[in-house]
């Protein structure tokens, strides 16, 4: 089969190509170059792979990597599960359905930094609303954001609160696409509500699951703003993730080193997400 010639001239692609090359391709190539230099914004000295060596020697890199994975898997997992449950609830025709849907979606619209600052106040160990409320029922609340063993999970919870609305929205759309015929058939066969959920809803809502998991996993892997607004990676380095480690190199003026970190982050996300999407797509064909 011969390829049909496009009816449009090639120069139609020019405006998009100019934007793509100047805003995406050139910076990408430039960052690869700068990651090989010692760069103080005034001068860049070529130093080979030293930045990569230094970045892998970074004492908190391993902990940051582990934290990044914990954070991404935790937020992505809870968002998918809770999102699906909320979507089922909010499509079941309960009272005030429309109002409750907006309540669940509302946090998505709020500025992440604003959410971070608000929760930092709510989670203050002595004056925060959460611990003050717990004190009323006699519980001595922990230091949510300044206890090294707890900080990362507290931030993940804030991320879940803020992000679950979007997952719910995607699932509601996915549920709407399932034909009611399947449920009717299941009911005739005597399936309970729980069986309907596991045997009909979960398999057929799969495209939405793929979207939610992929988006939230990428979001979790490169998560930065909510962490910076609440703990800045602290206490010490306890809630550092890859993106906050990189940002701190920029802050210190190590521009070449930070750029090398970004190249590594890019590679890491690609390594995790590419096989995952491939696997998801393969399974979709099998169905």
């Amino acid at each position: 089969m011969t390829r049909r010639r496009s009816p449009y001239p090639y120069w139609f692609v020019l405006p998009a190509a100019v934007v793509f090359v100047t805003l995406f391709l050139v910076p990408t190539v430039a960052s690869l170059w700068f990651s090989l230099t010692r760069w103080d914004l005034f001068e860049a000295h070529f130093i080979g792979l030293d930045n990569y060596r230094q970045f892998f020697k970074e004492p908190f890199l391993v902990q940051g990597l582990v934290n990044t994975l914990i954070y991404a898997v935790l937020t992505s997992g809870t968002k998918s599960v809770l999102g699906l449950l909320l979507a089922v609830l909010l499509t079941s025709g309960i009272l005030w359905q429309g109002f409750l849907r907006s309540v669940v979606f509302f946090p998505v619209l709020v500025s992440t930094i604003g959410v971070g600052i608000t929760f930092a106040a709510l989670m203050h160990p002595t004056k925060g609303a959460i611990n003050v409320a717990l004190a009323y029922v006699g519980i001595d609340g922990p230091a949510w954001l300044s206890d090294p063993g707890l900080a990362l999970y507290s931030v993940a919870f804030i991320d879940l609160w803020k992000g679950v609305g979007l997952a719910t929205l995607i699932y509601i759309a996915g549920l709407a696409a399932i034909s009611p015929d399947y449920y009717e058939a299941a009911r005739i066969d005597g399936a309970t509500r729980v069986q309907q959920f596991w045997r009909v809803t979960v398999p057929l809502v799969r495209p939405a699951t793929v979207t939610v998991v992929t988006l939230s996993l990428i979001g979790g892997l490169r998560s930065f703003d909510i962490i910076w607004a609440t703990t800045k990676g602290g206490p010490g380095f306890a809630s550092d993730v890859l993106a906050s480690v990189i940002y701190k190199q920029y802050q210190a003026g190590f521009y070449g080193l930070a750029t090398a970190g970004n190249v590594i982050l890019f590679a890491l996300i690609a390594i995790i997400i590419l096989p995952l999407t491939w696997w998801f797509n393969k399974r979709e064909v099998d169905l």
Partner: protein
């Protein structure tokens, strides 16, 4: 008839020319600290009153690491305006001053030598003038608590810890700790430098030359140990991980806490927010192992610089010469009060200084001061504040923390491209 329009044209022309000559607008960039802004506004207003042909546009930049990035980016792109207010010492050196800042060697007539040395570029020329007062890094204490418990100002670290034990026994917070603003966690380490150099005079030079390390120099490691001791003693406020700088100032000023390790610039905040408590707060240098070798670690004030890319270098220099004069210095004291000694010759502090400043001045008069390490060496590890939070919160023991900081220092030195690293 024809003459009138041309006369009008001519007068309009001279008016325009006059205006063009009159208007030199100098672009000034400063940090957003309330005292900085107040001093800059007072100085520029006085200068414009004396020189109506020069006016100013003042822009505030963010502080901290974000401000560092902004200043470097603007200097690199030649957009830094005509006058720049920025740190002296190691941060000044990171601006590549020989290349990016104008030579100000000829307006240093009134400037004290110790300041010149922290704004001197690698080629030996002086590139800045002082803006503000020198600061001490030490410990504020609440005089009411000291009087109530019959305590006296400690001369050694052991006496300090004995005081803390008594304060804790009396049911009060001994050391206000504010790790919510991580930079405040560094004071016990950085403010100990007078004691370090009293014991190891060559530390700064050896440290810069990659010969001395924190982990292998007991005198230098002691600062980390102090943090651990205070944590283990349980002397801190309950919300130490979340409390911020403003909380620390409030605690020591109002008697919620007995001590707050901090730089003396915090006095401005006490004056603004708790003026009725200003006389309740005293100050002492960080005590060390020995009473007779104790003294104050001093931070030099920020400098004013002229970016080399400025189009009004001469006009900017004339203004900076005014700032670095006795008149300019007295104007700053009038605006912000006396928070410490100014680095201008013959610029004396008024007699009625706040108690904490009066406590600080004897160290200067006796010569018992040493500059902080960041003014003696270009290397300061960027992760120090995270590491000191860890030690001070019991996450990491002292020896491990000092070794970790040595690694951080090595990274900084390598990124600066220093020899021997």
């Amino acid at each position: 008839m024809k003459l009138i329009p041309s006369a009008a044209f001519l007068s309009a022309f001279t008016l325009l020319a006059g205006l063009a000559q009159a208007e030199t607008v100098l672009q000034v960039t400063t940090d957003g600290n309330a005292e900085t802004v107040a001093a800059m506004e007072a100085l520029t207003a006085a200068y414009t009153a004396a020189n109506p042909d020069v006016t100013f546009e003042i822009e505030n930049r963010p502080g901290g690491a974000e401000g560092d990035n902004l200043v470097k980016t603007r200097l690199a792109t030649g957009e830094a305006g005509d006058i720049l207010q920025y740190n002296s010492g190691s941060l000044f050196q990171a601006l590549d001053p020989a290349k990016n800042l104008a030579d100000l060697s000829d307006i240093q007539g009134n400037v004290i030598d110790s300041f010149k040395s922290v704004v001197t570029a690698s080629d030996g020329t002086v590139r800045g003038v002082p803006f503000g007062a020198a600061m001490g890094g030490g410990i504020y204490y609440n005089k009411n608590i000291y009087a109530e418990l019959g305590l006296s100002v400690p001369k050694t670290w052991d006496e300090f810890m004995a005081n803390n034990a008594k304060i804790k026994e009396a049911g009060k917070v001994a050391v206000a700790t504010t790790f919510g603003d991580t930079w405040t966690s560094q004071l016990f380490v950085l403010g100990d430098y007078f004691n370090v150099q009293a014991e190891v005079p060559s530390f700064a030079a050896d440290y810069t030359a990659n010969k001395a390390k924190y982990a292998t120099t007991p005198a230098a490691m002691r600062g980390f140990q102090y943090l651990e001791d205070v944590f283990k003693g349980g002397y801190m406020n309950e919300d130490f991980g979340a409390a911020k700088f403003d909380d620390g100032v409030r605690m020591v000023a109002t008697g919620e806490a007995a001590h707050y390790p901090m730089l003396t610039f915090a006095l401005g905040n006490i004056k603004q927010n708790f003026p009725e408590n200003l006389e309740d707060v005293g100050f002492f240098a960080q005590p060390g192992p020995s009473a007779d070798k104790n003294g104050l670690t001093v931070w030099m004030p920020a400098g004013l610089y002229v970016p080399a890319a400025s189009e009004n270098i001469e006009a900017a220099k004339a203004f900076l010469a005014f700032v670095a004069s006795v008149e300019g210095c007295e104007l700053m004291i009038k605006t912000n009060g006396a928070t410490g000694p100014y680095l201008i010759k013959d610029c004396a502090l008024p007699a009625d200084v706040p108690a904490a400043v009066a406590d600080m001045m004897p160290y200067f008069q006796a010569g018992a001061t040493a500059p902080a390490l960041e003014f003696l060496s270009p290397i300061k590890g960027p992760a120090l504040e995270q590491i000191t939070v860890e030690v001070g919160s019991g996450i990491r023991p002292t020896a491990e923390a000092a070794a970790l900081y040595d690694q951080d220092v090595e990274k900084q030195a390598k990124q600066l491209g220093l020899p021997n690293w």
